[in-house]
């Protein structure tokens, strides 16, 4: 049985249009034009227990809405979801004790109290056995380097420190399923890295099923083998991150450095030149022509260094999002 099973899930919000300006506001008191905005359109996918899957999509694509439906915060307009066999929006207590959601832009900790106090409260809410509680805290505190921060009021913590504490608070009851919505947003590079490796380690040790959204490609590249790409409320890709580039991009990037200064113009007939100067050159070449082009370059020019690289995932994603909604992958 998959840990998460989503079938034909849709969610639309009723929203109102209001003209800008004071007059628009006055008119809005009497009459508002309301319309339905489809945030998620007939989405289906499933995750096996222990998988760590990344959710990619631009702002407003429906990622957060989806996570909120899986957490039982929002009710869907249509569709079916089973997480660990439970329907999330029935808010069964047994389900609630087996999952956690952490949102990078929200704060669940008590603002004026030290994080240790919030942990204690969560222990009581989730009914965590005191011994297991101590063990979990110790384990996570050392993984995240939080020892000296447990007694500092939350409002005095930096964003990165707070985020780490949010993670600890959410994981105290050892959830089997974990939803992470932008866990690294707004953090400095070091904190990002720390949280990333923590998530990786945690997933490896506990076999927790993790569904993660992020704006930072690095999060996804480091953590997830499999990705779901969502755009305009629809899943446009579900598969391995590695295959994503293969499927959407049929070219590679060749970078070369010359031994000595060359003419600043490329030889005639050479295709796919992106950059060319006296010392360096970058070419974008179709997959099947990589070998031929490389051969020609090496034969004709005094080359010191040559590398063939994949197009960066970030660019691949950008290409997907620039296309029209509802494209069929492949």
């Amino acid at each position: 049985m998959p840990a998460i099973d989503v079938k034909q899930l849709s969610k639309s919000f009723k929203t109102q249009r209001k003209e800008a300006g004071l007059w628009g506001s006055v008119k809005g008191l009497i009459w508002r034009e309301s319309f339905y905005k489809e945030a998620v359109k007939s989405v289906s996918f499933s995750l096996e227990e222990g998988e760590l899957v990344g959710f990619l999509g631009p702002n407003g694509a429906g990622k957060t809405t989806l996570l909120k439906m899986l957490s039982g915060i929002l009710y869907p307009t249509a569709g079916e979801v089973k997480v660990l066999g439970y329907t999330p929006w029935e808010r069964n207590r047994e389900y609630q004790r087996q999952f956690a959601i952490v949102m990078g832009q929200k704060n669940q900790l008590w603002w004026d109290l030290p994080p240790a106090e919030s942990f204690l409260l969560n222990r009581d809410i989730y009914g965590v056995d005191p011994k297991a509680f101590e063990r979990n805290i110790d384990e996570m505190v050392s993984l995240l380097d939080l020892k000296d921060l447990l007694d500092v009021p939350v409002r005095q913590l930096s964003l990165g420190q707070r985020m780490k504490c949010e993670l600890v608070a959410a994981l105290l009851h050892q959830p089997r399923v974990l939803f992470l919505d932008e866990p690294t947003i707004g953090l400095d590079v070091i904190s990002q890295e720390k949280i990333r490796s923590f998530i990786q380690e945690y997933n490896r040790l506990k076999k927790t099923t993790v569904l993660l959204t992020s704006h930072y490609m690095q999060d996804v590249e480091q953590l997830c083998k499999r990705v779901l790409v969502i755009n305009h409320g629809q899943i446009v890709y579900d598969g391995l991150l590695d295959d994503l580039s293969k499927r959407y991009v049929d070219h590679k990037v060749i970078k070369i450095r010359f031994v000595e200064a060359q003419s600043a113009t490329p030889p005639p007939g050479l295709e796919g030149v992106v950059e060319w100067d006296a010392h360096h050159a970058v070419l974008k070449v179709k997959q099947k022509e990589v070998a031929a082009t490389t051969h020609r370059l090496l034969g004709e020019l005094p080359i010191e260094d040559l590398s063939v690289e994949k197009v960066e995932v970030e660019e691949v994603i950008r290409r997907i999002f620039e296309e029209k909604p509802g494209i069929e992958p492949g």
């Binding site: 909120k68 957490s71 915060i73 929002l74 207590r93 832009q105 809410i125 056995d129 089997r176 932008e182």
Partner: protein, 278 residues
């Protein structure tokens, strides 16, 4: 399959009550720690409450300087009535009131999310989240004093009425909670809850008048639609030796019906919570 670290979830009714009592203690401790951070605020709040209650007593003292009884209530009986309102208010702050005052913010910012994901009933979580011992402490202490003072000066005071008085205070608390819950359910459409809590505030303000001053439609309105006339009058009647059996029955009936209504309206309203996008 349960995660090994959490205790078995209580399914029996008594088990659930025990669990929620433990949770209440835990939330109360956390809120106390929180309140102690702002000591000055605490002292001002208590002082203001005592002044407010004093004004109430002066008001009734002036009225009773002119008339013997209001709706059949003597001055000392009225002190019990006014005092009981103060006690119910303090009990409400001790169990749920502050949470409802914050609800609008929770819904607007999307922080209400956590109440939907934690393994406890949302309507309990919201109530316990901001329980406050001090918020209305002055009012509560003053109320207790007035009740005691009025009781001591009654001609026909009877200690036997005390347990029933306490029970009916609890019943009044249930009515107050159920009314707050019903009215506040609208927050999921309005997103702001300030006006809703003004309604609840006026509801409690009319509770300090004896129920006997209402007649006909007015009485029906303040019994069934806005049941504020029962909140103080029922317990105070018992302690003041004016109780009628059917008033007790009526109050319990209204409490049960209103609580059921409140819970269903609330649970239904949760469907319309739209969270806030991050």
């Amino acid at each position: 399959m349960k995660p090994p670290v959490t205790e078995a979830y209580a399914t029996s009714l008594s088990g659930r009550w025990a669990r929620y009592l433990r949770l209440y203690r835990s939330f109360l401790m956390h809120n106390l720690k929180n309140e102690m951070i702002y000591r000055a605020n605490f002292a001002i709040a208590v002082g203001m409450d005592i002044v407010f209650m004093g004004v109430n007593v002066v008001f009734f003292a002036i009225v009773y300087g002119n008339v013997e009884t209001i709706g059949g209530w003597t001055f000392h009986q009225t002190l019990i009535l006014v005092g009981s309102v103060g006690v119910v208010r303090e009990l409400a702050y001790l169990t749920f009131r502050q949470g409802f005052l914050q609800l609008g913010d929770y819904v607007r910012t999307g922080n209400f999310d956590v109440m939907l994901t934690a393994p406890m009933a949302t309507f309990v979580h919201l109530a316990f989240r901001h329980v406050s011992l001090t918020e209305s402490l002055g009012e509560g202490l003053m109320g207790l004093f007035l009740v005691g003072y009025g009781f001591a000066h009654l001609d026909a005071a009877s200690w036997i009425s005390v347990p029933l008085y306490l029970l009916m205070l609890f019943n009044s608390l249930v009515i107050y909670y159920a009314f707050s819950l019903t009215v506040n359910s609208m927050v999921f459409w309005l997103v702001k809850s300030q006006e809703l809590n003004t309604v609840v505030y006026y509801f409690m303000n009319t509770a300090r008048y004896p129920r006997e001053i209402y007649h006909g439609l007015g009485k029906a309105f303040f019994t069934f639609i806005v049941p504020s006339s029962l909140i103080a009058t029922t317990p105070a009647s018992i302690l003041a030796g004016r109780a009628e059996g059917n008033l007790v029955g009526l109050s319990i009936g209204v409490a049960v019906v209103l609580l059921c209504l409140g819970l269903s309206v609330w649970n239904w309203s949760l469907h319309y919570y739209s969270s806030a996008s991050s």
